[in-house]
Each structure stands twice: as C-alpha cells, then as structure tokens.
Symmetry: C2
Amino acid sequence: MKPVKVGICGLGTVGGGTFNVLKRNAEEITRRAGRTIEVVQVAARSNNPLCDTGDVPVTDDVFAVADNPDVDVVVELIGGYTVARELVLRAIENGKHVITANKALIAVYGNEIFAKAQEKGVMVGFEAAVAGGVPIIKAIREGLAANRINWLAGIINGTGNFILTEMREKGRTFEDVLKEAQERGYAEADPTFDVEGIDAAHKLTILASLAFGIPLQFEKAYTEGITQLTTEDVNYAEALGYRIKHLGVARKTEQGIELRVHPTLVPVEQLLANVNGVMNAVMVNGDAVGSTLYYGAGAGMEPTASAVVADIIDVARTLETEPGERVPALAFQANALSDYPVLPIEQCESAYYLRIKAQDHPGVLAQVATILSERGINIVSIMQKEAEEHDGLIPIILLTHRVVEARMIEAIAALEAVDSVINPVVRIRVEQLD
Amino acid sequence: MKPVKVGICGLGTVGGGTFNVLKRNAEEITRRAGRTIEVVQVAARSNNPLCDTGDVPVTDDVFAVADNPDVDVVVELIGGYTVARELVLRAIENGKHVITANKALIAVYGNEIFAKAQEKGVMVGFEAAVAGGVPIIKAIREGLAANRINWLAGIINGTGNFILTEMREKGRTFEDVLKEAQERGYAEADPTFDVEGIDAAHKLTILASLAFGIPLQFEKAYTEGITQLTTEDVNYAEALGYRIKHLGVARKTEQGIELRVHPTLVPVEQLLANVNGVMNAVMVNGDAVGSTLYYGAGAGMEPTASAVVADIIDVARTLETEPGERVPALAFQANALSDYPVLPIEQCESAYYLRIKAQDHPGVLAQVATILSERGINIVSIMQKEAEEHDGLIPIILLTHRVVEARMIEAIAALEAVDSVINPVVRIRVEQLD
C-alpha cells in the first residue's frame, strides 16, 4: 500500500519526540499499520538538539505544510490557540487529516474544528491532548462504547500531582514545591494553567464530551486550583484515611452534567489516591463495565509522542476508508450529540471536608452541628482538636454526606457568621469514587 | 445506514449480559455506532432467568446461527474448545464476522481462526477474552501501536487474586479461601484452570501475541499456580515490602520472549500490588510511553458484555470497510508476524525470594551465602529469624538480584543438598515492574 505522508508542525518537546519515535520504530510501525509512515516536511522555527531531521525538508512556515500537496496528515504541535487554530482549519480545508496534542485548542475550538472536518471527510486525532501516552480517548470512545458512562474522575495534570505528592510525602509547602517544579521544568514560568486547574479543565472538557456525547463546553467547567491548599489539610485528610488529589470530575445526573476541577479528598485505598508524582490516571465508571482505570505518564517527550503516533497509525490504517465508516471524533456521530445541560457548580453534589477554626468557647461544636443539620447536611464524622499553642484556637474537622453545593455555600456563610468562628472556613470536596 | 444483524450463541452469564446491554443501551449505542445493532437470533439450550429475549427467535442449534443468511455477526459465548471452534470456523466460512469471549479458544486455536478470517476478509473480535471489560486488547493493539513493547505484567485471573487478597488481608489459608470462592461462585467446582494458572496463561498468550507480533503459542507458556503458597510466605513478603500476586509476565529480551505465569513478589508501592479482590489489571511498558496500567473488573455478566458489545460496535462502524483497512486481529499485519522464539523457563530471568528452613547449626547462613555467590547470584537482602518453637528450625529468608532461572535451579539443588537444610527450599519470583 502507498505510504502515508506526514508533515510535522512544531519541533519542540512533543514534535521532536514524534519525529524520533516514527524514525526509531519505523519497522515495527509498518508491521502494524500495513503501510509506511513517511515524514515529508517539518515546520520549525529553530532546531531541536534532541532531534536530527536528516534529509527531511524543514520550513519555518507552518502554513507551507498545510498547503503542501504531498502531505496527507498535518501534525499540529505548535501549541497555543491562534496560529494553531488557523493552521488546523487550513489543513482540513485542504482535505488533510489532522493530529494534535493541543488540549486548549480542542477544548475551546473543537466544535468548529470537528464540524469542518466532518464537512471535509477528514479525521482529527487528539489522543495526545489528554493524559499523554495513556490511550484514554480511545478507551472511552471505543473500548467502553457499550456503556452509558455514569462518571469519570482523573488526575490529569502532572505538575499539580507532583506538588500534592511532595506536600504529602515530605510535608513541604505549596510554594516551596512549586518553585522546585519550575526549576525542574515540570511547571511553566507562569504556572497558572497548571495550578489553577485550567489545563485540567481543558482535558476534562474533552473527556466529558466523549463520555456523554455533548459538544465541548469549556466555558461551563468549574475550576478551582490547588494554590490555597495547606499541609495542615493534607495531614488531617491523611488522618481521616484520605489523600488530597486535584481531580477533574464529570458526572451525569438526572439534572445534567457536572463538570468540575478541584482539590478532592479520595479514600487512601483507591488506586487514584496512590497515583503519585507527575503520573496521570483516569477512572471511568460505566453502567455495564463498572469502574475502570487508565494510568501512565501524562506528559513528556516520548509518552506524548506515543499518543500522537498512535493517531497517525489510526489514520494510516483507515486512509482509504469512507468517512462515515470511521470512528467519530467525539465518540458519538456528529448528528447525534445531545444538548443535555452542563450544571452550574451550585447544582453539583458532593461530600465535603470542612475545617473550622474557632475560639475555644463552650458550645461552638453544638453551634456548628446545628447549622449543618438545619440545612439537611449530615455529618459523617467530626473531630475537635485541642486548642493550638500558637493562637489558642480550636480546629474542628468534619466530613459530611453528599449535599448540593448551593446548600453547602449557605451553610458555610452561616458558619462564618458565628462570632467565635475565624474566617474563612476551609472546605474541600470529597469523592468516594465508587 | 442499514442495521448490523447479530446472532448470539450461548445465553449464559456473558450471553445474557450481552443481550441485556445491547437492549438497555440501544439508543446510546446507535448514537455512537452510526447504525442500529439488532439481535436477530439467539442460540441457547435453556432460558436465562436474568435475560428476557422477548420476540427474538431462539434456537437450540448454534450452527443455525452460523448458517443464518440474515446474520452479519456471530457472537460465540458457549465456551469450550470443540463446538466453539467448529462454530467459529463455520461462521467465518460463511463470511460472517465473529466476536468471542473465549480465551481458551483463541489461545489454542487462534492462529487457525485468524488465518481463516484473513482469507475470508472478516473480523474476529476477542476483547472480552482478557480482563473482562477492560479494553486492554484495544489499548495494546491500537493505543500503544507506536511503541516497541518491552514487557507486560498482569493480574488476569480474578479468582486467584481474590484468594491471594483474602490470604494476605485475613491470614486465611489457600484451601479455606478457595472453598469460599467456590461457594460464592467465583471459582469453578474444578478450580484447576484458575488456581493452576492455565486461564491466566491463555490470556497471557493472547496479550504477548498482540504486544510482540508473534503467533499464539500457548503450549510454550510456563505455568505455575498458587496452590503451594502459604500464609507464612505472604507475611514474610509483606515484612519485606512486597505483596504476592499471581502474575502473567511477558517480556522481550535479546534472546527471545519470556512467557510465564507464576506467583510473584511485587513492591507494595506499585499499583499492581494494590489491585485487590476479583479485580484485574495489566501493566504494559513501551519504549516511548513508559509504563501504563489498565484496571477493572475481569469477569462478570455485564463487565464482560461491555467488551463483547464494544467489539460489535467496532464491526458496526467498519462494516463496509475494505478488509485491508481494518485493524489486524493480532495488532500486526498477518504477513508481518515474527518468528522470534518463546524462551523455555530455564532461560528466563527474574529476581527471587527464597525461604530456607534449616537446623540451627553454626555456619548454615555462610553455607547458603557461599552456594549462591559461587553461582554468581547476588543477595539483595537476607534475614535469619530465631528458631521456631514448634520445630526448632531457623527460617532464612532472602531476596536475590535478577538471575537466569537455570542458575537458580542449580543453586536450589545445591542448597537442598546441604545436610542441615530441610527440603524443599521455597522460591518465588520477584518483579520490580520498573
């Protein structure tokens, strides 16, 4: 069969990795794909010392690749929204298949991109956009296609997980670990996307679309970062049998779809609680299969390239297939997406961990319990610690049953209005994942 | 698009589950597959009270389904080798696609079946044959297609894992837990396939073919069961920071491919060590992606049906695709399989846990250390316990570095020849999984 001709745009970490994996494993890949995969052009602004492009023509104009009549597949690895969007749309317009690792692009402009691809009958692969080399997109889109997905929950930002792991294992502060992560190159100079949960929300948006058959709605995702987490809460969580993880959670309820990224207490015996360092993992619960989990490196040169190349092989295997016979980009047929609503956070439901600091007056505990019970919030466990030496305040730590967020917001306002309670009350969501 | 017409042969646990999932999730499945999936015939010897077949015609002759001109896809869920093999070959001969959950059939007769399917241009799906609802076959075949797979290791028999979990958590004996597993229906009346590792070896054979592009060679798999394991060893392992799991391990070395099922010490911090009860998990290490893990229910009515139905959807999506454009059954193109040899166990390499019971004579420890060092076997750690009250014997427990099995066999023979050593010496393999 004739080879598939690939143009790679961007020769940074992932682009260099993709080039190298295609070259190193060429023989093995051909044995699988049934045809050779040939890189015929690369667009890069500068050399990547980890990647020797040899005889392959290199241009500094990404659009030259999108317009190159020899190219069957354009691999977009330049990142960002603006040029990447133009590049991808132009490549599709020119009838080329597109592979991208760009979660921001897919989460924000995916609907437009997939509509265009549908019109032109080309494939858009984005396995590398979520959880690096872990084939989580294929798992949801194809492997679990028999299921109604009930929920999914994932550790989908390696930087955040590295920070939380260090905080727990070594008792370090958030700021201290973040600084190290930046020095080691795990975190960007501007770490906002990682530590504020925006990157995780991009990925969660994509997973939720695949799982529930809804359009991409990044703007409706609720996002809460890990910058406010203290080692105090990490330690209390541990004492209660939980670990704090920064999770993306998507859940289908009778009212709509919950789409939320936030720190979460997870029972220590859950596999997700034991995913440490920069590793990623996603748990997916389906009505037939029950809970399944997918784990691996969520970033890095070759793990991400592994996913990019898997997508290229999918294109290679089905190059001459009728568009209607291919697996739809968002798992559901384009004309079968649902308008099931994404819920605002106030309508989402979870259990809660609360930490209240109060002056050591008699009756505080009773006041706290009353405020919660008046709002129908059931307490699972509560502990009041001795007054702390440095400020004489008593910490009250409690876990609640599941409750709608709006009611918890109300309860917290009432708690914070109690005279002897020091503001703010700390609240972290709890998920049992069962 | 026209519906896909399915005939289900066998209406036991998996057959009933498949029927129910197809019916319950029909709308969702059509939205994904792009066409409806219609069960047009069922072959069953008796009713399944958990499954109402309604208006669907039921026959007691499975071959009637294979010969039914209305059927596009034959789903073989009768189990066993003999009739199942005939049924599958006849269905393929008649130009029908085949889906099966039958690991024994695929492991033993897969080469014949895939050759026939290749000749006839039909698909054979067997996702349900390994790890129930976990899409591990798709992950290796497609998700990790960019990688040279280095090794994989899995807990792929739920019954065995349930027994080991109970032994560790509750200090129960093998016999005691097996009896409970049989009463609960986890284990068959004849538990040989589960506890002797034959079932796991069937599944490992399949995974190794997909990973390394070799024909199925079940007869070359080394198989060691869990019947000899004692709580004593489970506890010593725990004290050393390990858990004993019944693993299937396939590893590519410079000499060939290791294909072995045996009890294995796994470091307690590894996710695989924390997969408990009847759950399954497979770790796959590729040269680009590093280590990835896939976890979920390895058996049961609907988890297994989840995989069967996913395969049916794959067929539905590519029903009119040219055979050459489909994903090859064994991940590699049929004409690109390799004759890389499967190694006999004597040439396999692993680290070892040894437990030696000896009379409390001076110099025993030195003798043990000398015997190992003379054979180039390095000791990682060694502990000699106090003499046990009931027999006055001293247990010596040690962990070695990796060594070729042949050399360990020799060393154990030498150890057992020492006068003060009580036979047999217990040896369990150790895998770090990194």
